[in-house]
Amino acid sequence: MLFNSLPFLFFYLIVTTLFFLIKDTRRWILLLIASCYFYITFVPAYLLIIAFTIVVDYYVALALEKTLDKKKRKRLLIFSLVANIGVLAIFKYYNFFASNVNQLFNGHGALLYLKILLPIGLSFHTFQAMSYTIEVYRGNQQAEKHFGIYALYVMFYPQLVAGPIERPQNIIHQFYEKHPFNYDNLKAGLMQMATGFFKKVIIADRLAILVDGAYLHPRTQSGITLLIATLFYSFQIYCDFSGYSDIAIGAARTMGFTLMDNFRAPYFSRSVNEFWTRWHISLSTWFRDYLYIPLGGNRVRVSRWYFNLMIVFIISGFWHGANWTFIVWGALHGTFLIVHIACNKLLQRWGYQFKPNPLKTLLQVIFTFLLVSVAWIFFRATYVSDAIYIVKSIFHINFNDHVQFSLNNNEIWFSVFLIVLLCLKERFYLIIPTKKNLSFIILFSIIVFSCYFFGVFNNKQFIYFQF
């Protein structure tokens, strides 16, 4: 069930109204059933996979709490991690592995392919489940005794298929708390959902028409077409994913739950380093806490530090998808970061001190945006060879080339206007006021009607659903 679909609208209305009509103590049952229903609307059989990881992690966590034996605790953690990563390995990475092995033998390899579809949101709920066992292992979180509440922690429908990847400390206690009906939460949640829909159906899906047209057969497109498509893709993926996060956070908020923020105006970052503190925050902090720091973080030799960064970004790329394009995307970000750190160190050694001024900041923001956009080419392209072709075409751009857009001029300019509007909102941290009822009703109606009249409705899935 896509958020931008009519079935979701009615599902949401039923679940949210029922939530406030039933007793506090029964709400977890409602949310768990609703979340199961939400999940089985994609592929019913995949409920068994998520159930498997829930059962394993639930019992591992209980066992972890019962024992003080360090070796046994480590074995239990490894067992849980292997179970979770094993599911990912089979369903997400096996065919990629088989295809690469078979290619090594000129297509005559003996590995068979599995005829399976990737369970939707697998990487997200697996990582959320893993963060639970790791936190219990570290002693930062008590093992949850209530099986239903633990299952709900993994399956809570707003963030089930594309995050934010929550930490147990942030969300589990909220399932025990009372959530009386609160107008302010309702209005703020609905407004955040409306903003998310606006980003998705008006901006992301409109830009997608042009981007998909250009990236489908990149070799038939001119450099200028590919350049504009790439710049548009940077905003498409941002609006698509942050739009999803807004809907998820807003839907949870209307029921009184607080989910973590996932984005903080990432395209206003002054460096790639800063970008990763503002983009997909729940994933970047996950990798920081559970991979980067355990590897030694930056408290190691410089070469080892760079190695740690590169490993984290390559794995982060691979987390997104079983394709070399994602691995290259991750490696590029790792490289950008390492070069940035190395340059800073060099400048420090030479005694150069940055004095911030608006022009310099603007140039830094533009440069960072361009670097991130170059990396997006690999994220979006179907093959690495296509991505390399696109990069070459863009760097050999000829402004006299024929431009082939799947949008007419009016719609191109409308898209540009929307991007400027988005940037202004992000730059000045504009929050749509919801306190006063009248202003809420007027602004909410304007956004809803805009979504209807200017929205592109083609049942386009959220980009991050595929991960």
Partner: protein, 353 residues
């Protein structure tokens, strides 16, 4: 007050949820709302009676109905010489619902190609038993390239036929609670009302006039007279009338069709016919924006290795002086006039055999 509002929202949303999840309920309500008497009321269907592509695009200039009529042909003097069993799609299904429209047919049965129906057939040897495979051109390269319809007709004894019919009557009333792919049902239940037409048409006009776009699956023809199904035009789709077809692909389709022919002949059928209904784009716009028709139908039908008998409608349509009456302006299908042309030609040819 809050509770009353909450319960009202819950009841309304639950009704829509249940009706949309049970496709039989959705279909019943839709049929109710598309009756001619209902169409003039605010709650009548907006799509009812107009073309499927209008339903996608909602462009007001295409809110037109097919006013032609499908009527029983004059069958006076016809001799019942054959039984016909057809694998149909939405093009000829309406015709095959009326066995008496086939002047020379004793028995007439059909299986709908999309829903996997298997039709048990008792071969009455007193007449010629023929299988008709009808397929719209846009599905030829996908549907006719596999043999999944080899078992769409099975031959059984007369006793077994009667038992099957009795069992069908007993299971005629049933419900399915669906959880997947419900967007279309929700849309029908909450969006397809006549009173919402101005809103839908306003959005469609804005999108078309400002952005020169319609709904993703439909295109306005260059002369602005027809809505065309995008996949029948866009060469990135196999359904396209302009996507070139190579010899290997053509041979593969013919091989499959010949297997089907052999299969039904082995079952005891006397003849297997093939009838391909041209895409509207094929007949109306053979040179669409510089693209050329790929000649799929003539290439396939005239191939000497094809064992099936061809019931050709392509040449008839192509040379028709009334081309503009053959296809609906806002639909992927032909008009009832177009289907009458097919039926009359079929009856004429069968009478000659």
């Amino acid at each position: 007050m809050k509770k009353i509002v909450g319960i009202s929202i819950l009841i309304f949303a639950s009704i829509i949820f249940i009706v949309s999840a049970v496709s039989e309920l959705t279909n019943s309500f839709f049929e109710l709302r598309r009756k001619p008497s209902a169409l003039k009321h605010w709650w009548g269907s907006d799509k009812g009676g107009t073309g499927d592509l209008y339903g996608f695009t909602c462009l007001p200039q295409f809110n037109v109905q097919d006013t032609s009529v499908l009527r029983k042909p004059d069958c006076s003097g016809a001799i019942k010489s054959y039984n016909i069993y057809a694998l149909t799609d939405s093009y000829t299904e309406d015709i095959f619902k009326h066995p008496d429209y086939f002047c020379g047919a004793g028995k007439c049965g059909y299986a709908f190609s999309n829903n996997g129906d298997v039709l048990p057939v008792y071969l009455d040897r007193t007449k010629k038993n023929i299988v008709m495979i009808e397929c719209v051109e846009r599905n030829v390269r996908t549907s006719l390239a596999d043999t999944s319809y080899l078992t769409r007709f099975i031959t059984v004894s007369e006793k077994k036929i009667n038992e099957t019919k009795a069992a069908e009557r007993a299971h005629n009333f049933h419900f399915h609670f669906n959880i997947k792919n419900l967007d279309g049902d929700y849309e029908t239940n909450i969006w397809d009302y006549r009173f919402l037409r101005p809103l839908k048409q306003l959005k469609a006009k804005l999108t078309f006039n400002w952005f020169n776009r319609t709904y993703v699956d439909a295109l306005v023809s260059p002369d602005g007279k027809y809505l065309l199904y995008q996949s029948t035009v866009d060469t990135s789709f196999l359904q396209s009338s302009y996507r070139p077809i190579g010899d290997t692909e053509l041979k593969a389709i013919i091989t499959t069709l010949n297997k089907v022919y052999d299969h039904y002949r082995r079952l005891g059928f006397d003849e297997v016919y093939l009838s391909i209904i041209p895409n509207p784009a094929t007949i109306l716009y053979p040179n669409y924006k510089g693209l050329k028709y790929n000649l799929l139908i003539p290439k396939l039908e005239n191939d000497p290795s094809l064992k099936l008998k061809v019931f050709d409608i392509y040449q008839l349509f192509k040379n028709s002086p009334e081309k503009n009456k053959l296809y609906q302006h806002s639909d992927t299908h032909w008009t009832r006039f177009g289907s009458m042309v097919w039926l009359n030609e079929f009856n004429r040819k069968m009478a000659l055999n």
